[in-house]
């Protein structure tokens, strides 16, 4: 009753408007107007969906901040959380100035957001008559052809994805990384490293063209960023953590490993929940279309895989080490979410649980291998969660995509199928995508690390700073100043002469 009343009211309101616009309407022009109005509504729904999903992903920064801070020590808490806070702004402006244009400058028509098609300049190589995109070339500073609502909405969504990748290395390098080095490195991540690989996969670059050019499935398919976001973050974390070296006291001379427990497990687990919440925006938002009803499948697969990852990690630790370790459960949930990020739109519910479940075990094994064998110190498990499981996610798509979604993906007709559903070449494209990430992002991260070292004079804080904790020497603020030392501190009314470099003051001259 209410509905028909509402519909009648709607007709009464819209009909005079249509009449006024059209003069005396013929029946077919009325139909045209209705169809145009419906198309405009669809675009509006897609806009709102994309933006709201972007807002959810932005809130994942809070999740990362809490996970990384909870998994590190109290004496470094202000430093760790400040890196997570500032990576948002620093990497964002770098991405706004340069990165977005490199990633999306040649993306072509934004189909779900009204079809705006002026981002059309892709720098590419032509080999054997085939075009291979390398990076985009328009949209710097969001000016010129980029100054339009669809591109701005697209930018917002892509920007929060880039920031997710940029905040991954801060966890692996925590408790010993100079804040100045972090700041410069993050500029390079937002401006160059992330956008280049994102262009290859999402911007119409050469990995996306593997299907059209070489007949490898639909090219490298990564629905929401297992490789583009997470593996990129994980590879950057791996390269830079290996170069930075372990925290003091992490590894003994005889090769044995010490545990350095984080200071706030409740904070880390709440952060994990915030990430799992934001992940609905991350994956379901990647349709860029609220009108694409596949979002129901995507969101549900996402929650299933995250739950499966936490459960298998819990069981693995329980059976192997006699206790269901809370920090590994958190890593397991995130590993499941990372792994389902690429295949979430293309797989069945049992496949989603399988993908998440494998991820939960994989992350535990990877943590022990990277820490115990490779002796690369990663305080929060970022390399295992994002790097290893990002790779597992894209390969899982190549195995388990079931051919019910993705018709026309990357310009290839037919739905996306994995090895077990009849298309082995899709798995080959996924493997090439993974290899390109390890090599491409790895080399770029190495170069960025070296450039950063030149700019700020090394990445590592002094040993005495690491012993004292980075909060005061690096940030000038303790996370938890409620101690007798601070309560009794003398606060000078005037700012005294500031000694640059700070560290020199910590160790007094021997008397």
């Amino acid at each position: 009753m209410t509905r028909s009343l509402g519909f009648g009211l709607l007709l009464m309101i819209t009909c005079p408007l249509v009449l006024a616009g059209q003069g005396v309407p013929a029946a077919d022009s009325l139909a045209q107007a209705a169809s145009a109005a419906s198309a405009a509504n669809t675009v509006a729904i897609n806009f709102v969906w994309t933006l709201v999903a972007g807002f959810l992903v932005m809130f994942m920064q809070a999740g990362f901040a809490m996970v990384e801070t909870g998994f590190t020590r109290a004496k470094n808490a202000a430093h760790t959380i400040t890196m997570n806070f500032m990576v948002y702004g620093i990497a964002m402006l770098a991405y706004w100035a340069v990165g977005f244009a490199l990633q999306a400058g040649g993306v072509g028509a934004l189909g779900t957001l009204g079809g705006y098609d002026k981002l059309a300049h892709e720098v590419s190589l032509t080999i054997g008559g085939k075009t291979w995109g390398l990076f985009g070339g328009t949209g710097f500073f969001l000016t010129g052809v980029a100054y339009t609502a669809p591109v701005f909405a697209y930018f917002l969504f892509q920007m929060v994805f880039m920031d997710t990748a940029a905040t991954i290395p801060t966890g692996a390098l925590a408790e010993r990384w100079k804040f100045s080095a972090f700041a410069v490195f993050s500029v390079l991540v937002g401006a160059l490293i992330y956008p280049i690989y994102a262009n290859w996969t999402w911007g119409g670059g050469w990995l996306a063209m593997l299907g059209k050019n070489l007949g490898l499935g639909h090219g490298h398919v990564d629905f929401a960023g297992s490789s583009v976001v997470h593996m990129t973050g994980g590879v950057m974390a791996f390269v830079s953590a290996a170069l930075l070296g372990p925290r003091r006291g992490k590894y003994n001379a005889d090769g044995t490993v010490n545990a350095i427990p984080g200071h706030n497990i409740p904070m880390a687990l709440i952060g994990t929940f915030i990430l799992a919440f934001g992940w609905f925006g991350f994956n379901a938002g990647s349709t860029l279309a609220g009108s694409d009803l596949r979002i129901g499948v995507i969101a549900t697969n996402t929650m299933l895989a995250g739950a499966a990852g936490s459960i298998t990690a819990m069981l693995y630790m329980w059976l192997k080490y006699d206790k269901p370790d809370p920090s590994m459960m958190a890593n397991g949930a995130l590993a499941g979410l990372v792994a389902i990020t690429a295949p979430c739109a293309f797989v069945t519910a049992p496949s989603a649980v399988l993908i998440g479940g494998v991820a939960g075990v994989l992350v535990c094994a990877a943590v022990f291998f990277i820490d115990g064998r490779l002796h690369i110190d990663d305080p929060v498990g970022a390399i295992s969660v994002h790097g290893v499981n990002g790779l597992w996610g894209i390969l899982a798509l190549g195995l388990l995509a079931d051919g019910t979604y993705g018709d026309g993906w990357n310009g290839v007709n037919g739905a996306v199928r994995g090895l077990f559903y009849g298309d082995p070449s899709q798995l080959a494209a996924q493997a090439i995508g993974g290899l390109a990430n390890v090599v491409g992002v790895g080399v770029m991260a190495l170069a960025a690390y070296k450039v950063t070292a030149l700019v700020v004079g090394g990445h590592r804080v002094a040993p005495e700073v690491e012993e004292l904790g980075l909060d005061l020497p690096e940030m000038g603020a303790l996370a938890y100043p409620d101690t007798p030392e601070v309560a009794s501190a003398v606060i000078l009314s005037e700012t005294a002469s500031v000694t640059r470099g700070g560290v020199g003051q910590l160790e007094p001259e021997a008397v």
Binding site: T483, S488, L506, P508, V511
Partner: protein, 130 residues
């Protein structure tokens, strides 16, 4: 019998503990303390203000030991806690009137011999040589 109190740098605690265990001193009480012992103050800058931290974080160890253990205890602490920089801490040695183990009522030397002392020392020595 002596009560030995040592103030050391927090970051030297693992080494001090290992050295004491190797020396057979396995009954130790520790607490986090703040103190000023002549080292230069820490100056920091917070929201534009200069803050001078005159007290620094330290760890205090307290051990009640019988006479034969007094010198080994002192030597173990000095060797493990010394960095050579101002701020390495102090050791205070005081005479003890009586010691009573609450569980058994044992007194004095019998009361300070930890039940697990041999096992703890053996483990510490094994860890040091491996």
């Amino acid at each position: 019998m002596k009560l030995i109190t040592a103030i050391v740098r927090p970051e030297r605690l693992p080494e001090v503990k290992a050295a004491l265990f190797r020396a057979g001193v396995t009954g130790i009480t520790i607490s986090r303390v703040s103190g000023h012992g002549g080292e230069q103050e820490l100056q920091e800058h917070y929201r534009g203000r200069t803050v001078v931290l005159e007290f620094r974080e330290k760890v205090r160890l307290e051990m009640a030991v019988s006479e034969p253990f007094v010198e080994p205890t002192i030597q173990a602490i000095i060797t493990a806690a010394r960095t050579g920089q101002v701020g390495d801490g102090k050791i205070f040695v005081q005479p003890l009137g009586r010691i009573i183990r609450i569980r058994t009522g044992e007194v004095d030397t019998a009361a300070v011999t930890a039940v697990t002392a041999d096992a703890v020392q053996r483990r510490a020595l094994t860890a040091a040589t491996s």
